[in-house]
Structures are given as C-alpha cells and as structure tokens.
Amino acid sequence: MTESCHATTRGLPAEEDGGRVVALVGTSNVGKSTLFNSLCGARQSIGNWPGTTVEVARADWRPPSSARTDRPLRLLDLPGTASLAPVSPDEELTRDLLVEAPPGSRPDVVVAVVDAAHLARSLYLVAQLRERSQRLVVAVTMADVAARRGLGVDADALARAVAVPVVVVDPRRRDSSSCLGGAVLEAMARPAPAPRTRAATDLDPDDPFAEDDERFGWVQQVLEAAVEHRGDGGPTWTDRIDRVVTAPVLGPLVFLAVMWAVFQVTTAVAAPLQDALDGLVSGPVTAGASALLGLLGLGGSAIEGFVLDGLIAGVGMLLTFVPLMALMFGLLAVLESSGYLARAAVVTDRTMRAVGLPGRAFLPLVVGFGCNVPAISATRVLPDSRQRLLTSMLVPFTGCSARLAVFALVGATFFGPNAGTVVFGMYLASILLVVGVGLLLRGTLWRTLGADPLVIDLPPYHLPLPRQVALVTWSRVRAFLHTAGGIIVVTVAAVWVLSAVPAPGASGSVGEVPVEDSLYAASAETLAPVFAPAGFGDWHATSALMVGFVAKEAVISSWAQTYATEEPTDTATPGALGDAVQADFAASSGGHTTAAVLAFLVFLLAYTPCVATLAALRREVGTRWMLTSVGLSLSVAWLLAVAVFQVGRLIA
C-alpha cells in the first residue's frame, strides 16, 4: 500500500494493513469512547495518530463470536465529529480516514455510534456516511436515558430506515461486545451496501444549505419511522443542575471551586504519595542496589556511582510522577465523562477569549501552577489540536511549585522580610507571561485560531463509571511512562556523568572529582558569559540554572554543592549558601545586585521548567514542538532577564 506510506494522515498507516480495521465514529458525547473502552478494556493504546497531534485510541478486538483462528479486529476510536465537513484538525483526521483515503486504506467497517436520547443530532453524520458505499453498522447508546425521557427507539425500524444493521448497546454491560461484534462480522462478510438515494431534485446549486436540507429531510424521515414519543419526561436533573452551573454568577463560583479541588488533588494529595515513592527509591532500593554492587566487588567504584546516582535516581524521578499523573488523568476522565467539562467551557469562554485563549485552556493553566507535567497532559481537554498546541506552549510559563522553593530562597537571601512580596510578584509575572506570550503567538503562529464563536453541546450529566475511569487512567499512565521514561532517565544519568568526569586538565579520577573541577563546572563556566548581559554571568548561578533545566527541585541542593556548603534546611534562613550567593551576584552584576537578582528570578520563571515537562510535551505534541517550546522558553527568558537587568541598572 504505497499511497498511504508518504501521507499517513490520508489513510491507515502501514501497521494497520493486512488486518481488518473497524472504526468508531460519532458526534461528541454519544458515548463512543465509553463503548470503545468496554469493548477493548486495558488492551488499548492511546497515542497520537502518525504525523499528527490528534489522539486516537487503538486496540485489538476479538468479538466473542469470531473464530479462534481469526486475527483480531483492529478497532480505532476516531475523533468525535458532528459532520464530515471538518472545523478542526481532529475532525479533519476523521474525514481523511473515512473519505479522503484511497479505498484500500479506509476502515473495513465503520461503526456509527448514535445517542438514543438525542437521535436527531446523531443521525446527521449517519446521513453523510450513507451517501457513499461503505460497510456501516449503527450502534445505539443511552437507550435507558431515552426511555426515562419518554423516548422509545425501535431498532428494527431504525435498521430498515437507515438500511444498515442497527445494534442497541449498553457499555455498562459486558454483552455489548458480542452483539456489536456479531453485527460487524456479518457486515464484513457482505458487500458494502449501495449509497442511499438522495432527493436530488431539491438540490439547488446556489443554496449553500441545500445539501444540509436534504440530509435533515432524511433524518426527519428516519426519526418518524424509528422513534416513539411516550410523553414528556418533565424537567431533568441535568436542567436543574445547569440552572446553577452555567448561571452568570453561580457558574463561575462553582467553576472556581472545581478548579480549587483539581489544584488540591494535583498538589496536596499527590505530594505525600510522591514523597513516599521518592523515599522508597532513594532509601531501600538504593541501599539494596548498593549492597548488590558491593557483593559484585563494585562498591565505591564509578560504576556504583553511575548506577545509584545516575540510573536509579533517574528512574526514581520518573516514578515520582506516576501518582501525580494518575491523579490528573483520573480527574480529567471524571470531569469529561460527567459532562462538567462542557459547562466549564461555557463559564470560562468569555474571560479567556479576552486574552485570546479558548475557555477550556483554563484548566491546564491552573494545574500548571502546581506542576507543569500533568498540566501538559491536561491540554487534552481542548478539542482542537491547534488550541492544544498553543496551550502546551504556554503551560511552561506557569510558575510551578518547584520553582516556588527557589523563589523563596532567593527572595529570603536578598530581600529579607520582603521575600513574600517578591514571590507574589513572581506569580503575577507568571500570569502576565502566559497572557503576553499567548498574545504574541496568536499574533504570529496562530493568527486564525480562536475566531470561532462558542457553540457547544451540553450532554446530560452522568455518574462516571469507576471501571472506565480506571481504564483510561491506566492506559494514559502507561503511555506516559513509555514516552517520558527514556528522556528523564537519560538526562539524569547524563548530568551524573558530566559531574563525575574531570574537566580536561583537572586532577582526580572519574567519580572522585570535586564539583568545581568536573566537566559539569567546565560547561557552566563556558556558558556563563551568555548571562553576563543579564547580570549573573557567574558559573555557580549558571550551573544552578543548568540543573534547573533537569528539575527545579534540584536547584538549591546543587547550588549549595558548587560552593561545597550544606543545603539550607529552611528556605527562610539561607545561611552559608546565602552569603556565598550574595557575594557572587554582587561581583557578576558590577554592584547592581538587586537588578541582577530580579533578572535571575525572571529567567528562572520563564525558561524550560524541567526535563519531565519536555517528556510530557514530546508525548502530547511531538519532538519538533517540544524543541520549539525549549527555544521559545529560553529566548523569552533570556530577553526578559536582560531587559530587567539593563533597565534595573539604570533605575537603581
């Protein structure tokens, strides 16, 4: 299949070839992903479609009725779309795979998921799909919700009206796999059905809505044939809740309360779990490995140092992100499947639009103030890949809690009792940076983005299914470890190697060298002049920034190491480190210490937060955009730091 090899978005990639592919499609909120999860469970892999930043879940599916010897079906959960005329890159992917792809690279069977309670809205896509020769099965979800509202959907009548097999599924029950599987296998064995006859006589070439009118006419006919109204269900719980949740004053209050909860869970709840894992790795695991290496006769060697302080420390750092990411993914799944996320988009839309961002970008940015890593993953709440990309570029500018510790120490060292004001100022600067860089990017790279007025479907509220939430969380954590693991472990190990190897000309052997004679110090010294225009062109400060690129948590301990002093136990009393740092800043800034310190803080705030954030970026938006983010952060940080120092020098 040579056509599909060069343009992966226009058809199924090579890995899907040979097998039989089934694609789930549907409007948003019809329960498509819930159905996918109940069919495939934990066997799924969630990841970006090749060559895009659009997420598609894939899994092997073996319907109970299929023969044991058959290869499993390849099931794809395609991005939700209301129609085949795309308005976002995500919807475009669905269209590309179903329509634009050469016939051999399209899915063998398309399963259109429709919501029984909102059949009119779901059937428009079916009308379009039936305009081409395509094996199609309609899966009806939410029949129970429809029944409660006095709507009965007659599956047989629906099948006759649409002229394709119709299956009523309940993702909460296990037997949906066999029902749907049987229908899919049967459809596969038959030739593709002929396209539906269109009422072509009504089509007026000058009327842009003529095609839509024809489709709606067809939808109305189908509805009349298949839906029975058994009276009005009266006002629903959803309506009662929405009276509060989307209201002008109460809505934003509810939203802030939800954001507060999300922030608490990703900081206060996650922290003890992270500490426990960190303690486990740096304590028993390291001690065990050390004992093992001692038995092998490697105790005290450079190899021991590399294994303990390089590899195990790297794996430990990666593991501390697991509880945090699991909580974040779980929260996202709950917010999304409950239906609240759509309401949050309504409430935040106007405020965020004023600064040029979509309403839903609020959530990842709030999470970013706790930790940037889950915040990057939280950009998944945005339905448009361009919006996800823009927000991913802004998240690193939110001042995470690891940066707070450094701000506090530097603040206490140089500003004494005014440290609190300085830290507050950094948070303010962080918000200004997000807005400023956002406007800058909107004015350059994403000029056309966000002009779309908000029109959003509000699904009925649902209680999230614990099994579904657990499934999605587990799949995403696994995918995160898979992509992020390499980057994090390799970087931590590389820093160890740099600090263990003596610089050319320095005395000492590998693993025995004092910090100031290591390759690491030598690189910091080489890099230091870059920061001279910002007033902190000193190798100690530069080396602290280098460590900060890996993890902001390590900045203070490593900074202390470069002076061979103890790490201060309390950030409010910087002690010996404070004295040493003060002397160096005074020297490197030519006496304009305050300006240089403020420039240093601004740099610390704006440059790349940590290697784990980069790993998360690589997973969400790919290597190219991850590097773009590094370039953007470093340039913004350097330019601002230089500006702060140069202006500050003139004033003070």
Binding site: D242, G251, V346, V347, R350, P453, L454, V455
Partner: protein
Amino acid sequence: MTLHQAPVGTAVTVVDISAHPRAQRLAEVGLRPGALVAVLRRTSGDGRLLGLGPARMAVDRTTATALLVAPATVPTS
C-alpha cells in the same frame, strides 16, 4: 430580532443563520432556519442556554447576536 434579544423562557423559530461565521456547522447541529428553539437561560458571559428538542446547547453572545429568530407560536415544554 436576534436570538440575543429573544426573551429568556420563550420559544423561537430560527429565521436566518447566514451572518454566523460557522453557519454550516450550526446547520449541521440543528440550529437551522425553521428549527424550533427554546431560549432556556442566560449563561455566564451573556450567552444563551438553548433547548433543541431534548438536546441542550450553549451558545456565546457572538452567536446569539448573529442569529435572527422569530417568536414561535408553539409553547415550550
């Protein structure tokens, strides 16, 4: 009148959507000329919460001011 001017709690019929930048998508999701729409509530940000049959939809102020509607004779549920 525009959808934005339509009193909350009334039912309206959509007359014209062509002033909206995403008119095509509006038509696809059911906000099309002739559609019966219940104006249920004002939302935060001065948008409107709409009822299209059993479905609920929120539109922002820009959308509400771009759609032309007429009072409907059928009472809302």
